[in-house]
Symmetry: C4
Subunit: 251 residues, 4 copies
């Protein structure tokens, strides 16, 4: 029976063996390729070299995803709750079916004329959301999120400490540097840009304090930034270590 | 009885159920909003768009905090030690009552004329101290500070190592780079600015060594900076791990 | 018997005592020196000071490595599987013998004329691959790779999270900054350069967002970067901690 | 007996109670102050404001350290091995006595005329070595160095991995960027400066790749830099965690 074969090929939950079926592996690769195409298409110099290639690839991917969508809709009937016309309608509004639809629909909306550059850029990236479809095939995120959420309280607390540090250091820099650099430190929100770059130890260097007192506060902020990295790292290290001790060490 | 109802609504310690009462949640939100207002008010371009909004909001917040202050003063009588006129006076000088007062008072002092820009900036930020009032509602800081203070000795030690490294690397750079860049490395305190930006791996790049020998020492400093991050992180990871093992793992 | 003495001196696996034989220590130093020579030879100002030195050293190292190669070929007969002419041929195509050959061969190919600067630079660095020969003498890499591969699943997962964060932040910056800075944020691949510098907290500062919205997204990216460092660090800390608990603590 | 009183006041090992005696605390403060004076003296603008202050303070500190030195020499006789003239001579050549002497001697050598700016700078910083005298009063370094040395093998291994990564990334950047930026990437040693700033995630930004291929390799290097921070941090976290488990958790 064809429907059962399609169902086994497409639904991850119908598979007995571990890992993904070959059909789903191909779909994963297609999703990644279509995201890569969407990324590369934003680069004008690449599009100029092969103007016809990107629209062609996009049409190809949408055609394949449309076939997959229809096949999934057809095979959904194997599950009791999606049987019959009413069941199919229920499937159409299930979470993953909507995600699948969201991966196809923008293509057809793309023919509507628009000439606002910002909207155009935003529109192109809607196609990147196809990557969300990969979530269907992975149970691994679950394990990670469990480890993170077990320490959620401590992580929020260190986020609170980080927020206060951020605010405090930008207030200090605002007070001592505003006169010397009104453009960069003329208000607390402006000083926040410097403060976040320093506390996270990114340190772009596009804005740096120039007064002696400003440098003293900046130095203290940079040192506090190390603590800011050390705290969540320590919490996560303890969380992962605890997760290891709960399950048998051989796994 | 109204006094008892106000007391139950305002005092976190009078509450049986976990979490904060709705009144206190509203107060927390008000504190955060008033801090946000104080932050945004420092930005001239925002004030220019709505010149009347910020003084109005400030007056509103102060009026609400004044009402809260008086309500707390009235309800404090529910606690035996704050009963009577003498008890109320004792409450007025209790730690959190003074903090509450410090959140209101600057508003009335604000009418005193001043035209020094530095004082004005400092003055605005006094309002940020209202955030300290949040401390009344949280017991969580306590848990974090216990974990930190259990490793205080090791953390101080690594701070000492960091201080010596900082001093040593700025001395090295001062010796080899002072001739090439007198403005940035002409003295040890000047070289400290570069040194702290490098050891904390912030790396602004506003000051970098240009001589070959200076680059060698800078490279060694940058590598030492990794150790400087690794040490407190390792200590904290061990401290949090230990804290987890002491209490039952299910919590 | 000379062959047995050479074998004991050269083959690490024939040694009873821990550590390396003196012959192999000398070879290790020679490998490091020849790599150092190859590095320094790329610097024109050094070559100009002593034009004859570097070709001489190179010839010397190749001569010594050739002698070592022939000695190893001769002594290989001590192992049963490399005995006889057929065994020697099998030795010639063994992994480490090919690596040894690769360390000598480029010297003789170097006489072929070429004037493409890129090829010339690539060619010089082939000599750096001699460092791979050090792998013959170390079993330590094995221990490290075991600790890493025991947590491979978690590390791949956090690499996946990192990849999605990278993509997401460069898409955000592309959308909001492309109009203001087409050179740096005009496409997603261009924005990736900024994104990777920020998420890894390197923060060169050659490209930074200038719009207010861009700075907000950049700040969020920088904060996410801390999580990105904390996650693999926590996983590795747990992995090393587990490795310690498995073996007796005295080791 | 005066000698015994001086001995109890000065020798940390003669003290029964934990912590340092008041005399030694004063000496520690003096050492820190004399180092601070030496640091501030390098800044010309400060010296210009009070030209007589710094030589006066230096003379004061040396006088006090000289008194301390002589008092220690006198009190050393309380220990059997330093008794008598021969014992005193032995004390003069003991490690800490030489360190104490090294803190005093440079002052008297300072009167020798010299006008080389480099030597002058080096000379000033010899006074910073007085900080080494603090080592006499602290047993804490010992505990830290034990924790570090217990994982010395793993730390060296990750240092080896770091070294190879450093070399590899600078070779890659040299090959692809040398043509575009001969000044910054024209040789492997030059590329090393960029490479170390990137792998340690310092990221000054004074030198960044400009070619597309260079940026790809730079991105990979930055990601490898995260691993480079994660590895020693993980190792140290495991080492500190192990150190905690060995001793009773209450300490």
């Amino acid at each position: 029976m064809i429907k059962a074969a399609i169902y086994r090929a497409l639904a991850p939950e119908a598979r007995q063996a571990p890992g993904l079926s070959w059909t789903n592996r191909v779909i994963c690769v297609l999703i990644l390729l279509s995201a890569l195409t969407a990324i590369l298409e934003t680069e004008r110099t690449l599009v100029a070299q092969a103007p016809a290639l990107f629209p062609f690839l996009e049409t190809l991917f949408v055609a394949l995803f449309l076939i997959e969508y229809l096949a999934r809709l057809y095979a959904a009937g194997m599950e009791p709750r999606y049987r019959g016309l009413k069941g199919r309608l229920r499937y159409l509004f299930s979470f993953w079916a909507l995600v699948d639809l969201a991966a196809i629909l923008p293509y057809f909306l793309g023919f509507v004329a628009h000439d606002n550059a910002f909207i155009l850029r935003l529109f192109r990236l809607v196609r990147m959301l196809r990557l969300a479809r990969l979530g269907r095939f992975s149970q691994a995120w679950h394990a990670l999120s469990v480890a993170l959420s077990s320490r959620a309280h401590e992580l929020w607390l260190s986020a609170g400490v980080a927020g206060l540090l951020l605010l405090f250091s930008s207030c200090c820099l605002y007070v001592v540097e505003a006169a010397a650099q009104p453009e960069a430190f003329g208000s607390v929100p402006r000083a926040l840009w410097w403060s976040i770059a320093t506390l996270t130890t990114v340190g772009y260097g596009d804005v740096t304090p120039v007064t002696a007192l400003g440098k003293v506060f900046a130095g203290l902020t940079a040192v506090a930034g190390i603590g800011l990295i050390a705290m969540p790292t320590g919490i996560l290290a303890a969380a992962f270590s605890e997760a290891l001790h709960r399950r048998p060490p051989s796994s």
